[in-house]
Amino acid sequence: MTTAASVTTAAGADVEREAPRIVTRSGPGKLLADTWAVFTREILLTLRDPFTLIFSLLQPLIFLGLFGPLLTGAFGGGLGAPGAGGASTGDTLQWFVPGVIVMICLFGTSMTGSNLLYEVMTGSYERVLATPLGRSSILVGRALKEFAPLLVQGVIIALVCVPFGFTLYPLPALLGLVLLGVFGVGVGALSHALALASKNREWLFWGVQQSLLFPLLILSGMMLPLEAGPAWMQTASRFNPLTYMVDGERLLFAGRLDDPKVAWCAVAAVATCLVGIVVGIRATKKVV
């Protein structure tokens, strides 16, 4: 005989039991809230570690301070830089600063996966996956964490360069940074996927990351103008999304919104972002 009263065993009246409060969100609100939750968890470590933060902010300035003068001296004769023909420091900076900003974005976001490697090994990534967080929010939140300091770095670099003849066009430059953010999320998601594919083989992650990074950098004309390079390099650079990013960013930082290259930059950013997220989500579903 089973009566209703006989079932009160497990959860008797005296048991201090709070009814489970199941929260299930959906739609764009969830996407944003989840991304924010992931981002704020990730950024906590950066904010808690001010020395690394300050050092990472100074690093590109040191780089710029050492590279800039050399570039003015060596390529002052004009190699495709906008201020060709007896370039001044200001012209060189105008050409070089956007490149440096793209570079630190690429360096930073391509390392998104490196923190993940550790979290996959210890098990905290698995704990995060077991929560109802959207998979794309996990990817985007982590990539944004790498991008946020770069935004600050970019602004600092641009401001520091102003006294040396660099002209800042705030609105186009801001658009440039937003596009870079979109691009960075894509790179971050690809790095995430690479980390998941590498799992406990850390060498594999670093090997692939490093051996892709430098060819991409050089074949984008970021540090050295490609116009002087052989034809195959110029052809290869046309297949490199980074080239479009660098070209577009240079125009935007020069205050120019009318050039079709800006549109190509936006296309490259969005395409990289979409490919990154699709590949990233597939990797997330497959590996764990």
């Binding site: 199941i22 299930t24 969100r25 979290e119 077991a130 109802p132």
Partner: protein
């Protein structure tokens, strides 16, 4: 009327590594009712974690279906995740994070409001003896403290169903016992259904109300531990008799006396050593001694050993789980 928390049918998972195909789980059917505490017991590589990962929606089944907390794990993974807690084999807390921060982060991952996750975190810190460690980084905690934090993380959403994958592996005996006390206390407090995996026999035996024995990706037995031992293993009674009359001993221990058990008599140190293998050994022992005395035999010693889950595993698979765990 108990509701079903888990209903899995024909769960299969294969992994492909280069040309090699690993059949980690080969077709598991299991139902878990609300309020149960079930232990999946099996050696390393048996497929316990893979099964748990499928039930928690972390891994897609190659075949089969599973409904967990009322939702299909494949079609509604987020609904499942919102209703369960999962404590994996590793450590859930990010090593560089502080204890309280991670609990708050976890609350936000479940979409809880700040006042809710703050008070829950405070309650769990207190309940799981993490007081004073709130601002310590996870990596500075001891193994036992980390595991308690994992339990706290798994309970932030107050799940009606909690999964724990090898919760006590790697802990010293004291921390193991301590963790178990906490799990039992949390179960009382929140009235949860619990599914856990272990390869510790004693743990499955003493803590679980139901043991699901898994070997090579298949369930080989599923019952309360006592029932498993009665059905699949015998208790062993050892009696010393001051006599050399082997036939007399065998005649005295009629099948009805030993409950149809097996009787084995050997000579040792000038007397007889009688070994009886039977179910319900403790209840049989007085009758055995009585029968021997009635036959005029003098009993010099008597002892009994209860069947263990290792005996069960040995009888079911031909291998000893204890030896595999040690290997």
């Amino acid at each position: 009327m108990p509701t079903e928390m888990i209903r899995a049918r024909g769960l299969v998972r294969t992994f492909r590594r280069r040309k090699e195909v690993v059949e980690a789980v080969k077709g598991i059917d299991v139902d878990v009712a609300e309020g149960e505490l079930v232990a999946f017991l099996g050696p390393n590589g048996a497929g316990k974690s893979t099964t748990l990962r499928m039930l928690t929606s972390l891994l897609a089944p190659t075949a089969g279906t599973a409904e967990v907390a009322g939702y299909d794990v494949v079609t509604h993974p987020e609904q499942v995740r919102a209703r369960i807690g999962f404590i994996g084999q590793g450590n859930g807390g990010g090593f560089s994070y502080k204890v309280r921060d991670e609990l708050h982060n976890q609350g936000r991952f479940y979409g809880l409001a700040p006042d809710v996750y703050r008070s829950r975190a405070a309650t769990l810190i207190e309940a799981l003896e993490l007081g004073g460690l709130e601002k310590r980084s996870v990596q500075s905690l001891s193994g036992g403290q980390r595991r308690r934090l994992d339990v706290a993380l798994g309970l932030m959403n107050h799940p009606p169903l909690l999964f724990l994958d090898e919760p006590t592996t790697g802990l010293d005996p004291h921390s193991r016992a301590n963790l178990w006390e906490h799990i039992a206390a949390m179960r009382e407090r929140y009235g949860m259904t619990i599914v856990l995996t272990t390869h510790y026999l004693d743990e499955a035996d003493s803590m679980a109300e139901r043991v699901v024995v898994i070997d090579h990706g298949e369930i080989v037995a599923d019952a309360p531990p006592d029932l498993l031992k009665h059905e699949h293993a015998d208790d062993v009674l050892t009696v010393g008799v001051a006599s050399t009359d082997e036939d007399g001993v065998v005649a005295a221990l009629r099948p009805d006396v030993v409950g149809g058990g097996e009787v084995d008599v050997t000579r040792r140190d000038g007397e007889l050593r009688v070994v009886v293998r039977t179910a319900h050994g403790a209840e049989r022992l007085p009758g055995v001694l009585e029968a021997l005395r009635a036959a005029g035999l003098t009993v010099t010693s008597a002892s009994g050993k209860q069947a263990s889950l290792d005996d069960v595993f040995l009888n079911l698979t031909g291998r000893s789980l204890r030896e595999e765990a040690a290997a």
